[in-house]
Symmetry: C2
Subunit: 342 residues, 2 copies
């Protein structure tokens, strides 16, 4: 069986501080397009790869509990949409489209358990399975509805609001009848929040010198749900603005991932008086709700009631720059890397 | 109707930073021992007053949501055990013993709604209704069982562990079959924790230079429940030592109440990976469980399976020093002020 070229993005070495493009290398490997005899693995042709903030954590040498670390000189792993080339597992067959955890390379041999699910609905863009119909979509759904327990008329604040998860939380909040305000890092993103995603209000946090005062202006009666994506100073400004019995689903703290000394949060005593529940979560705990989620979100997508903005980069070799861009806020919407369209 | 003397402890002025004895004055007021015609209020003779950490908050000018502030030149208010002198309310009659919110004075006229409940069980010390059978007891019970959701074999860490609430959390944890470690601020308190309250281990946090390392030593497999009484540096050291799906009931953050600039907590990203739930609470939300609590705890007290240490100070005029002592850790066990024994 002939080998074929298998371009890969590998980690050069563990990262300290902000990641740079040069922390990764694009290399030419090779692969035999065959599942080894007796193996239950599945051979995938990768189509779309997902750039997700949590990947920064795997670039550090420290193994965060529940995650692993990437291995230097090995390809990154992450969520992606792929096509089955050959399958050693009865659940999958050649030609199936799937999404799940794959590797940053053209072809990957993966254990079937890494595949999240077969893709049945193809009347929507395939890349959506890295975003609104994939991990970020489930994250927004579970974090907002399961942990946020939103009620009509409540006040919702979303940080990193134009990102892969945030743009959905805002739209889900509006569907629930909430008042929702988002923060983002550029005028372009703020415009998107207000004009495309239907947030009631939005602001550029980089232009606000007194975030506490800004939040008081947008939430004179306080915040019921803060969907936490950034951590640090933003969380500290939010806490005094929370309302009695507020909820803070902690989805991420992207502002902190690259800091050697994270910012100190000083206003946590607000948790007590206001009886606030702050809860970190990982989406994998909620994948059993995936079919409910599809039933909820697909009709909204088809009717144009929920929209999704992607930032699509062509070519695996442009993956490192796209991934690094997440941490400077370069991307507008969900960051996707196209390896192949078919 | 003749007036009688009514000694009172009043706030001199709003407090900034650590409270001092001189922030309060003992003054001689007077009171007519009669409920005004047509009033539903209840006239109380105060017996035991409770010194509770939350009282520091009410000494600040800033009104924390859900609380008020004390008024300068007016007596402090707080939990206490009292005897009804006269009642304008049908639920209470002369001679009843009650506990609830009263004022720091010899006699108080209070709205009946401030009385938490009549005291029925008097085979235990009356002062217990400021502690184990009062607000701190309910706080330990609700915080540990309702928010902590403990399971047999889990690992529990309690800070301020010899205090009014902490000593009970530790004993409840042992009754549940947990491994429990407590921290306190003196050798005497550490001895109490190990020898009187049955904690598996205890340490003096003032003697530990690397709290993170100390916790790793006592919890090589991590902490399932951290019962938070102190906040700040302790919380920051606990977070990396929490276990997957850990719970942090936030009862208080006494180390932070007197700081003008609270300590920054930098390890909150642990909430995400470890899917930790951190929840602030106020005991008043749980008073509907009070009769369940009594059913649970009274037999344990009578059988000597749950013990309670009080630090009893005689005389209202010694109240300010007792209250201030809470914030330097002078008290050993629940701090009570005796106004009168009968």
């Amino acid at each position: 069986m002939a080998e074929v070229r298998n371009k890969q993005v590998v980690l050069r070495d563990y990262v300290v501080g902000f990641p740079k493009e040069s922390d990764m290398n694009t290399v030419e490997g090779s692969i035999t397009l065959k599942v080894p005899e007796g193996s239950n693995d599945v051979l995938l042709k990768n189509l779309y790869l997902s750039c997700d903030p949590y990947m920064r954590m795997l670039m550090s040498k420290i193994d965060q509990e529940g995650f692993g670390s990437y291995t230097p000189d090995s390809p990154l792993s992450g969520y992606g949409v792929s096509k089955v080339v050959e399958s050693g597992h009865p659940d999958y067959k050649k030609g199936d489209l799937v999404w799940g955890i794959t590797k940053w390379e053209e072809f990957s041999l993966v254990p079937a358990a890494q595949i999240r699910t077969k893709i049945e609905n193809t009347d929507v863009p395939l890349s959506y399975y890295t975003g609104i119909l994939g991990m970020p979509g489930m994250t927004a759904y579970a974090g907002f509805f399961e942990l946020g327990s939103p009620k009509k008329g409540e006040n919702v604040f979303v940080s990193a609001a134009s990102g892969a998860v945030g743009q959905l939380v805002g739209q889900f909040a509006k569907l629930t009848g909430c008042y929702v305000v988002g923060s983002a890092g550029s005028k372009e993103k703020v415009d998107l929040l207000k004009n495309k995603f239907g947030f009631d209000e939005a602001f550029n946090y980089k232009e606000e010198s007194d975030l506490n005062g800004t939040l008081k202006r947008y939430f004179p009666e306080g915040i019921d749900i803060y969907f936490e994506n950034v951590g640090g100073k933003t969380l500290d400004a939010v806490l005094p603005n929370m309302r009695l019995h507020g909820r803070i689903p902690v989805c991420g703290m992207v502002s902190q991932y690259n800091l050697i000394e994270p910012e100190g949060v000083t206003n946590l005593t607000n948790l007590i008086f206001k009886q606030i529940r702050m809860e970190g979560f990982i989406v994998s705990k909620f994948y059993h709700l995936y079919s409910n989620f599809l039933e909820f979100v697909l009709p909204h997508i088809r009717e144009g009631k929920v929209v999704y903005v992607e930032d699509i980069v062509e070519g695996l070799e442009n993956g490192p720059a796209a991934l690094v861009g997440l941490y400077t806020g370069r991307n507008v919407g969900k960051q996707v890397v196209v390896v192949a369209r078919d």
